[in-house]
Amino acid sequence: MPVLRFVLKRLASLVLSLAVASVVIFLFVEVVPGDPAAYMLGMNAQEDTLNALREELGLNGSLMQRYLSWVAGMLQGDFGTSYTYRTPVSEMIGERMWISLPLAIYALTLSTAIAFPAGIWAASKRGSVADVSVMGLTQLGVAIPNFWFAMLMVLVFAINLRWFSAGGFAGWDAGFLPAMKSLTLPAVALALPQASILARVMRSSLLDTLGEDYIRTARAKGLSRRQALWRHALRNALIPVLTIIGLQFSFLMAGAIIIENVFFLPGLGRMVFQSISARDLIVVESVVMLLVFAVILVNFLVDIAYAMVDPRLRVRA
């Protein structure tokens, strides 16, 4: 059973990566100077009040004790209780996820919807005005910082045209369309640089495959350039593109911190940002751990999928 052995091997490395990641995250967060209790009680607090609060938050144990209770809790699905909000972290993550995840999916869909046609169009008309303009625009798209582009959109669409509100989230209770409407500007801001990168990858990957022997064979059989592109080149060119999309998804989940701040969306990114400045360490640790877990898991699944598709990879691994 070579496939099963391969999966088990990958699974072992997944567990090991998670264990190492948990130690690194815990240590990094705990060595950051700043006492959460002092932050919460402010400048007039007395030492005994601070101690009472530290005791309440479980901050008085040794480093080892706190690490073990954190990990033990996570294994049972308990991410601990936020120091500041005093609600279970898992609940907070669950709530925020309903904004960050749809936002990431929305942005990814947009970027794919823009990048695929643009990349294919540019590759099929290599050297033409269309190609040059797509390349120029995507160059610009990669160069423009997304937060700046976000502010620009707010200025135009929220302040001048008043088509959208400047930020905030309508809530899923308000209905699907109003909720999606409040995610539209942030999704566009996030999607633009991603789409530019993706379009460029799409174009160059397609041009690479168009130069392959089997395309020449297809053309020799009598297929037009266009037919060869759609039937043979595109499918093969998709492999690197899909890899990039996988990478972009984790980037979108974690990289929305700035965009969520610009649009004051109550998502995961903004929660991490606030928790860091409030020294709500348990929230920071748990969210970062969750993101690490998501990335490792996606990589694991991608590895397995490659192995399923291409038997050669199983042997190499």
Binding site: A38, M40, A45, R86, V154, G167, G168, V262, F264
Partner: protein, 490 residues
């Protein structure tokens, strides 16, 4: 056709009627979100900004002008010796959960604040209370260890609001108070909703619904106001946009004073600042107006001591530390620092500190003092500066009302240790006579100004941007609060 006309006329009438009835909901933007909703167990001003006076009330309460007014206590008697306070409670007060508020609840709330294991951020204010006794359901008696002229003032703080014993377990998520508004919902990270309390015991609120929206980024705050996503923005974080709002007929700009004395805090125990001549030189090296103009875009009142200028007991002592770089250089030379010296300047995140810090560093360099600037987050600032006392200079706004008493605490982070001042403070705490208190407060202000304890810069202002039709907002901020009980639309 007839029917259509009729419908059209009906719609017109309805539209006109809609114009006659003013709006009854309001959206208020602010920068910081409360970490939780219990004003009695955290220092976070954001909690009071949302809940004080709207949802929670204390025995006494702050008025818009900083005066202390009756709250849940309608009247009180203070004994001759100033040791017992007898409060008569308002009749017919119920908590939002329907239970009656009586003397037992007051006893519970105050005992909780001063308890051994209390997590109250201002516990020290209530430490002098030795007993809280229920005389009858409508009367409470407080016994103090020694007279305390500030007790009525201390009881008005958000940290001493009356809470319902049975709500304590969930107070951090679902606050139950006695105020004119009831808490309804909190979308964490986004907004908090309140609605009118129909069973309110006092003058009912004019608004039916209030939404507090939390927008931390200054650029986003600007966009939210301009796009009219919010009706009011309190503590507007980008003073550079204010002229633009002033010129726009859709908005009104209200610039009010806060209780925040913004000071160049000086480590009085660290050489060379233990030398009063050096501190005097520092005071004369600072050009307050340049800081107000450069860092605050002109918003701020210069101060010469640690006291709020809008307070009737304020003494203007700015002349005592007037800008005079030549004198500063001379004083430094007399103190033995003709070639200047180097020190640290640690800055917390607010823009008054970060922008002001750059300007002060330049002003100090002009008289030979080199500063090494480090930008700290609040948590780091509290750890290094406030707790660790590891700093030469820092800039911070002391936002607690009437906090001149911190100068009587030698272990307080700027470490001013002066027996004469401490005596004055003890006398003040025991003094209930307004005239004598006023005289003492004047003396205390002069004392710290003459000792150049800290560099006194300016009183922090709080700009509020509101839609033109909003009436009844507080102009000044005698405590951190957004009292909406009297707010309505024109």
């Amino acid at each position: 056709m007839k029917r259509a006309k009729f419908l059209g006329a009906g719609a017109l009438v309805m539209m006109m009627a809609g114009g006659a009835y003013a709006k009854t909901d309001i959206k208020v933007g602010m920068q910081l979100e409360p970490p939780h909703l219990d004003p009695t167990s955290a220092a976070a001003g954001a909690i009071d900004s949302v809940l004080y006076s709207n949802v929670f009330e204390g025995l006494t309460r702050f008025g818009a002008d900083g005066s202390i007014n009756p709250g849940l206590a309608q009247s009180w008697e203070i004994s001759e010796d100033g040791l017992t306070y007898r409060f008569k409670l308002a009749e017919g007060v119920t908590f939002h959960d329907g239970t009656t508020m009586d003397a037992e609840d007051v006893k519970f709330s105050l005992d909780r604040a001063r308890a051994e294991d209390s997590a109250n951020a201002q516990k020290a204010l209530y430490a002098g209370i030795t007993a809280v006794d229920v005389v009858d359901p409508m009367t409470v008696q407080l016994t103090l260890a020694e007279p305390n002229g500030s007790m009525l003032f201390n009881l008005a703080w958000g940290d001493a609001v009356i809470v319902a014993p049975e709500s304590i377990e969930n107070i951090k998520q679902a606050p139950v108070g006695t105020g004119a508004f009831k808490f309804t919902n909190w979308v964490q990270g986004d907004s908090i909703m309140l609605e009118k309390n129909a069973a309110y015991w006092g003058t009912p609120a004019a608004l039916d619904k209030v939404t507090f929206k939390f927008i931390s980024d200054p650029t986003a705050a600007f966009a939210a106001v301009m796009a009219e996503d919010v009706d009011v923005f309190t503590g507007y974080p980008a003073p550079e946009n204010i002229p633009q709002f002033e010129a726009d007929a859709r908005f009104q700009v209200i610039v009010g004073n806060t209780e925040g004395e913004t000071i160049l805090s000086t480590n009085n125990k660290m050489p060379p600042f233990d030398n009063v001549k050096v501190r005097e030189a520092l005071a004369h090296a600072i050009d307050r107006q340049a800081i107000i103009d450069g860092a605050m875009f002109g918003l701020g009142t210069p101060i010469g001591t640690h006291f709020a200028p809008h307070n009737p007991d304020y003494v203007d002592l700015t002349a005592n530390s007037a800008y005079d770089p030549e004198l500063a250089k001379k004083l430094l030379a007399e103190a033995g620092f003709a070639d200047g010296f180097k020190t640290t300047l640690k800055l917390p995140p607010p823009s008054y500190a970060r922008r002001g810090g750059e300007i002060i560093a330049a002003q100090l360099r002009a008289v030979g003092i080199e500063t090494e600037i480090s930008n700290l987050e609040w948590a780091q600032w509290l750890e290094q500066v406030f707790k660790g006392k590891d700093f030469g200079l820092t800039i911070v706004s002391h936002t607690e009302p009437m906090d001149i008493g911190i100068y009587a605490r030698p272990d307080y982070y700027f470490q001013y240790d002066d027996a004469a001042f401490q005596d004055m403070n003890t006398m003040l705490e025991g003094e209930a006579d307004p005239a004598k208190r006023s005289e003492l407060l004047g003396k205390m202000q002069r004392k710290i100004s003459e000792d150049f304890v800290n560099g006194y810069l300016f009183q922090l202002t709080v700009p509020t941007i509101a839609k033109a039709g909003v009436v009844g907002l507080w102009e000044n901020a005698p405590t951190q609060a957004t009292d909406l009980t009297a707010v309505h639309w024109k």
